[in-house]
């Protein structure tokens, strides 16, 4: 299958290893990977800020770039949800609505694509260490992805996965919310960091680098040890 990647802009700029890991995994599984370099941002920051006209203008770039793709796979529950769930809302009552729905239907979150589309749960990966998993809210509640990453991690040799309590609470990132209401975002982040630390894990794994950027940023600021990794990085560890 020809898999077209959507690599969210901040992953492209700040976390290139996540994208590289996704490429390696999909290639190992024998798929042709394509990455249209004309892609930019999905438009979510403008969308969440109420600037739907500008979000739409940005999203049109994505509609154009992914028009001919067979499937679009993204290593992000959040930006993936923007395309899969919110594009049809964003383009409602516009000439591009149908095209937005077509893109939504062929968009996959990375772990869900592996498990539900390709039927793969064991990638032969090994990663020694104790880890806990953070569900990004958009992946969890908009994309309904919860079982899939755990299924994949269960098959990683040497990895001990411990659930944090509670494991379904928001980390407080929320995009522009993090800087518009930093006090609330930080309070939520403190509770998330405490829940992560309580597990005694050395690694924090997630489908969303955006949540990890916030949580890791807080751990670093407090001078506490924690290594956060995207699921793809764990799965590609020994590839």
């Amino acid at each position: 299958m020809k898999v077209t990647l959507f690599i969210p802009c901040f992953i492209d700029q700040c976390f290139p290893d996540v994208g590289i890991s996704v490429v390696k995994i999909l290639e190992k599984l024998g798929h042709a990977v394509d990455y249209p370099t004309e892609q930019t941002c999905c438009g979510q920051p403008a969308f969440n800020s109420g600037a739907w006209d500008q979000a739409r203008a940005t999203a049109r770039q994505a509609l154009k770039v992914f028009r001919d793709a067979e499937v679009v796979v993204s290593p992000s529950g959040s930006c993936g949800a923007m395309m899969k769930v919110f594009y049809p809302d964003l383009f409602k009552d516009t000439p591009e609505h149908k095209e937005a729905c077509v893109l939504a239907n062929k968009t996959w979150e990375f772990s869900s694509f592996l498990v539900n589309k390709l039927g793969v749960t064991d990638l032969g990966a090994s990663f020694p260490g104790k880890a806990t998993f953070h569900d990004g809210c958009h992946g969890l509640r908009e994309m309904k992805v919860q079982r899939e990453p755990r299924e994949l991690l269960k098959h990683v040799r040497g990895l001990e996965l411990v659930e944090m309590k509670p494991n379904d609470t928001c980390c407080g990132f929320g995009g522009t919310f993090a800087v518009k209401f930093p006090m609330i975002s930080t309070a939520m982040g403190e509770q998330k960091c405490a829940a992560v630390a309580e597990t005694g894990a050395d690694y924090l794994i997630s489908l969303d680098s955006s949540c990890l950027m916030h949580i890791q940023g807080m751990f670093d600021k407090q001078g506490k040890q924690m290594k956060s990794l995207h699921l793809a990085e764990v799965l590609a560890h020994n590839l």
Binding site: I7, C9, F10, D12, Q13, C14, F15, P16, V18, G19, I20, V23, Y35, T37, T40, C41, G43, P45, A46, F47, N48, S49, G50, W52, Q54, A55, A57, T58, R60, Q61, F86, D89, C137, H138, R141, E142, T169, C170, G172, G174, G175, F177, A178, V179, K180, F181, P182, M183, I184, S185, T186, A187, M188, G189, H214, Q216, G217, M218, D220, K221
Partner: protein, 465 residues
């Protein structure tokens, strides 16, 4: 920024730093969470029950005019007085007039958020009536001159020690801290007030159209006394509280109890359909139902927001909301707090004055998942944001999004911008955390990620193209 937004930010900042408050709310809700999940499991399928409840509400709200008229007709047939109030003032005036015409002196109330919405107590007191809250939580916050903290648990923010202090200061009672002892103090006072009151005001949890009855849910029995002992019973009801028929209550009463309080059923569920009828030994001489619009029909007219009228005020969305749990109920500065408040307040009280509540959310969606009638709260927050920007584009931020979309439509420009950003990032170290730091909102509590030396796109071009 509106005054309401400034007040919200100030209060939220204070509460977010208050670790005692954080812990108190966590403790208060931990027991609820366990019980809620236990009782959800008693449903054959909680998810199916949500779907059925949502469909019933969809039907009722879609034909609200018909159900309300049927409700009125059936109430009137048994001699009840039905009043229509288009706004808060009209509702206050109606209730004050009923009290004046009947030479009422003492009024006792059972819990009603709708009465909070119209600021009924202040109006009644201004007109010389003695008003007394009989719900224990409401009684406590009334003594403290505070609004209720939560839709269902008005005094959940207080410890028993704080309640004891309030009782000692306001009632001159002995310093006791056991919940039973505190309850007895309140009970002694309340019993006298119940006997003294000549008018009782209750809220309404559900109005049953088919039979013309109101359903009131409670745990303390005070609503029964409020509605049975005084010679006049006034029930204040938001027009959206309709259900079609009795059998609808078979799903709504347990759902309300489970979602709202973690109970299988609340201790008392009472239906009222009339005043004392001929031959009956007790009950009030007059029964009034005041139907309140106060902005609801405007929401009804908005197809996108309409389902926010499905709300049964259970408070489940507040309980799961990480924003509510950190900023606390009083920060919202309006009667309905939490996600449902952040959705409906901008639409009921003014978009520009209250839009900040819709922005103060990480959009985690826990509320939408918790709502027993499936109101898509998180998505409504997004729609409110969109509507507020459309109505009044923010000056500086508006420019920012124009710039953002301009750059993002030109891949070469975007990559150039990112490259320049990467080169400039080391300079950020000089201003980081200072007043000059453009990213201060982030850097005060978080480290910043580094722009990579080789972006993914560069890697792709070098290794795969």
């Amino acid at each position: 920024m509106s005054t309401t937004a400034v007040n919200f930010k100030e209060s939220a900042t204070q509460y977010c730093h208050d670790l005692d408050h954080r812990q108190r709310i966590k403790t208060a809700l931990t027991g609820y969470e366990v019980k809620r999940d236990e009782n959800k499991a008693r449903f054959t399928s909680w998810e199916e029950a949500r779907q059925i409840a949502a469909e019933i509400k969809y039907e009722v709200i879609s034909h609200l005019d018909q159900y309300l008229e049927l409700f009125e007709k059936n109430l009137k047939a048994r001699g009840a007085h039905v009043h229509w109030a288009s706004d808060a003032k009209e509702a206050r005036d109606i209730i004050c007039r009923i009290a004046q015409e009947n030479q009422v002196k003492h009024i006792i109330k059972s819990k009603s958020m709708t009465s909070e919405e119209i600021h009924l107590n202040e109006a009644l007191e201004k007109n010389g009536f003695d008003v007394f809250e009989s719900d224990l939580g409401e009684f406590i916050v009334q003594l403290r001159n505070e609004p209720p903290y939560h839709l269902v648990f008005p005094s959940m923010h207080l410890t028993r020690h704080q309640i004891s202090e309030t009782f000692t200061a306001k009632l001159g009672s002995a310093r006791v801290t056991e919940p039973e002892q505190l309850t007895m103090i309140a009970r002694d006072i309340m019993r006298q007030k119940f006997c003294l009151a000549d008018m009782g005001i209750s809220g309404v949890n559900f109005g049953v159209a088919e039979t013309g009855m109101i359903s009131v849910t409670e745990n303390e029995g005070n609503a029964r006394l409020t509605t049975a002992l005084p010679r006049i019973h006034v029930a204040l009801m938001g027009i959206e509280k309709m259900v079609r028929r009795m059998e609808d209550l078979a799903i709504f009463l347990p759902m309300l109890a489970t979602a709202g309080a973690g109970q299988a059923l609340t201790c008392y569920n009472t239906l009222f359909g009339a005043a004392k009828l001929p031959g009956e030994p007790d009950g009030p001489e007059q029964f009034h139902v005041v139907l309140l619009d106060n902005g609801r029909t405007a929401v009804l007219a908005d197809a996108e927001q309409r389902d926010s009228l499905h709300c049964i005020r259970c408070g489940a969305c507040l309980n799961v909301c990480p924003i509510f749990r950190n900023v606390g109920g009083h920060s919202y500065g309006t009667v309905y707090g939490g996600p449902i408040g952040s959705v409906i307040t901008p639409n009921l009280r003014g978009l520009q004055d209250w839009k900040h509540l819709s922005f103060a959310s990480s959009l985690c969606g826990a509320c939408s998942q918790a709502c027993p009638v499936k109101i898509d709260l998180a998505h409504h927050l997004l729609q409110n944001r969109r509507n507020s920007v459309k109505e009044k584009p923010p000056a500086f931020e508006g420019l920012l999004w124009h710039g953002f979309s301009f750059v993002m439509q030109k891949p070469a420009l975007y990559r150039l911008g990112a490259k320049v950003g990467g080169l400039l990032q080391p300079l950020h170290e000089f201003v980081k955390g200072s007043a000059l730091d453009p990213a201060k909102g982030w850097t005060e509590t978080r480290e910043t990620p580094q722009i990579a030396k080789q972006t993914f796109t560069q890697w792709w071009k070098e290794n795969r193209q």
